[in-house]
Symmetry: C2
């Protein structure tokens, strides 16, 4: 079944905020076999919203809208939907009381604007928002379902999970779908495609392969519709097993895990711990591990040694080596890794030192030069990562390269 | 003038990657007075792409497309545009040579797939992509301009900046526009709206106010179209000066800065340095500072003290206090801040210790409890931040709260 997603808000349209909601909704719907066929973003204009919703209802039996439910006067999704569904706004008592209580707990005055949050079109079914003041709404008309959700990402996500997904499964007769995703890292898309061409050509017709590139990894997804789940899963497992052999160390894992998540699992399985020493990545590398629940089981800590003093005093890097080879050097990276492993009392350690940019490059060490070192109980190894000119990309990609280097060292 | 943006790709549609390109494009166009009126995302289907582009050309004189220009067979934007513009694919020699060289430098085979990157519709003007293999394309038909750009964010961004923006300014007679943005932090949207209602009502008709909420701050933007820049800027400055007084410490700064950027500027202006000690934020707080160019001018370093050992050994937190008050306590937060200030030799230090979740909460210290401390040459202060249930939101918001606390301490 198809779905259209509409995100509403001038702040999205003019690019002040990035629309992450569409991706979250699409992923959640994909799990239950609903395909987002089209996504649209329009501004806070009644006319635009009405025309977008009308068109989407024509295109798909399910339309999910986010945004435009805030208390200020530029938020007009609710009044627009009320008109579109020939309804009128009425106060929803449970929401009114919940918002009142929420405002009280936060010490925010329960003013007219906030009271307005409890108004909903009479014809809708209210979806309870436990994390904010704007209720979700489920509306039906001429066989189409329109769901309106708040734009705040975690409010929207909780509503999707607790209310919308169960109701969609109940309301529509969905096709059965089986997805399985393999995570790869280190091969560019064109090289991966060439390497697996023969394997891909041999796939049965009913198995669909998709390349899912993202900044942190390249995923391959097999999907099967309307076949028995057992049969599909067995065939996918067999095919992916073949692919593991073809990909060798480029194969990282399965599912929705990140490369950092795979490393975390490997560490926990081994009862081993990790520490990081970061210069150019400035905390971003550590945060890739600590972003995921359960990090305290293996993550001891990090030192962000942005200045040379901190490298010398906290990590024991030799001042002479910084003078002789520079702070961005193999020698310093290795001493950082060994040092942070020691001071944090960890089994493994990763270190990064580089020139993130935009300034600070030299002909011998251009912007994007990053030394990565991994220290283990057995010793220390290092490698040179060569990035580009953009600071954010260099931080992001050298962090991923460092995590992947640790993965390969542990897997050996 | 209006523009429509179309992003293409199954990986976006199914939510495997978040579409950041639309926001980047909208921000860049907004600067020159071009308004994104509508944004659409469609999958890698020739029919969908053709219908989306045709509709967009009907709606706006400028259409910008990203994605679907990769080397693999599911990338069909180029062939679709070639048909739509009644053209044929021809090899663009400069691109062919550039891609060949790029592949050589990276040690990637220059195979048939990569050679295909140099094919472009004969009728297009090629926009040189210095950062990747897919060239940008500028196409014109019946008064409309269609620009096709690669989906890789930094390739797209460089092309927008170097090629598209200058050409758009040259090709269209654009309305003059003046924007000015104020950054606020700490007031919820409804409370801000109420506090500034009188000021807002007194704005002249030709000044348009927009609320731009985002997870890290709430911005207010004034825009003026088709008036003299000098007059608009003077009026905006006067109005915003009034607003500074109304907002007091909720006023953070102006422009595209982040709260962290404002703090960075305050530190550099004072010749002061910063260090961080992070427990629950796990590196995310430090990375907010180090993400921005020039951080090495004031940022000394951080200790991510995830384990108690690291808190005690590297930061000098008293083991007895961890036992008595717990790792998440005012006492430990303050000792972390004082400790990291000392070991990093910094003037100011921020520390965070809390329960990010999803597990680890207790009735007395539920998930979302975060103690934040700021150490200065004069002493140490601390405050309790109460977050919600979601790990990522707790990490993000407590980091912002910590940065804002430092801002208020420095500003005093």
């Amino acid at each position: 079944m198809n779905c259209n997603v509409i995100t509403i808000g001038d702040e999205i349209l003019i690019g002040q905020i990035v629309d992450t909601n569409s991706a979250t909704i699409a992923r959640m719907l994909g799990e239950i076999g609903v395909r987002v066929e089209r996504r649209l973003t329009v501004g806070d204009s009644g006319e635009e919203i009405a025309s977008a919703v009308t068109e989407a209802m024509r295109r798909a039996p399910l339309v999910i809208i986010t945004g435009g439910l805030g208390p200020t006067k530029d938020d007009i999704t609710k009044t627009t939907l009320t008109q579109l569904f020939d309804s009128r706004l009425v106060r929803h008592e449970p929401t009114y009381r919940a918002v009142e209580q929420m405002m009280k707990a936060k010490g925010i005055e329960f003013n007219e604007l906030n009271q307005g949050q409890a108004l909903v079109p009479e014809c809708c079914e209210v979806l309870t928002n436990r994390n904010g003041t704007a209720p979700g709404m489920w509306l039906e008309k001429e066989g189409s379902v329109v769901v309106s959700l708040p734009g705040v990402p975690f409010e929207m996500e909780a509503l999707m999970c607790e209310e919308v997904i169960p109701k969609v499964k109940e309301h529509f007769a969905l096709r059965s779908v089986v997805h399985r995703t393999m995570i790869t890292f280190g091969l560019a898309e064109s090289m991966l495609a060439e390497r697996i061409a023969e394997w891909e050509d041999a796939l049965p017709e009913w198995l669909h392969l998709a390349y899912l590139p993202s900044p942190r990894q390249l995923r391959l997804r097999l999907s099967a519709y309307d076949v028995s789940a057992e049969m599909a899963e067995a065939e996918m497992e067999r095919r992916f097993k073949e692919l593991e052999t073809i990909l060798g160390s480029y194969f990282v894992g399965y599912g929705e895990e990140s490369v950092a998540g795979v490393v975390a699992r490997m560490l926990v399985e081994r009862g081993a711990t990790l520490a990081c020493a970061e210069s150019c990545t400035g905390g971003a590398l550590s945060s890739r591990f600590t972003a995921e629940a359960g990090a305290s089981a293996y993550f001891k800590g990090s030192v962000v040694s942005y200045s040379n003093d901190v490298k010398i005093n906290l990590l024991g890097v030799r001042a002479e080596d910084i003078s002789e080879y520079g702070a961005v050097s193999q020698q310093v990276a290795e001493q950082m890794a060994v040092g942070v492993r020691r001071v944090c009392g960890a089994d493994y350690a990763i270190a990064t030192t580089g020139i993130a940019g935009p300034d600070g490059g030299t002909p011998a060490k251009p912007v994007g030069t990053v030394w990565i070192a991994v220290a283990t109980p057995e010793g220390v190894t290092s490698q040179l990562y060569r990035g580009g000119k953009l600071r954010s990309v260099n931080i992001e990609r050298s962090s991923t390269a460092a995590i992947n280097m640790l993965r390969l060292v542990i897997a050996k």
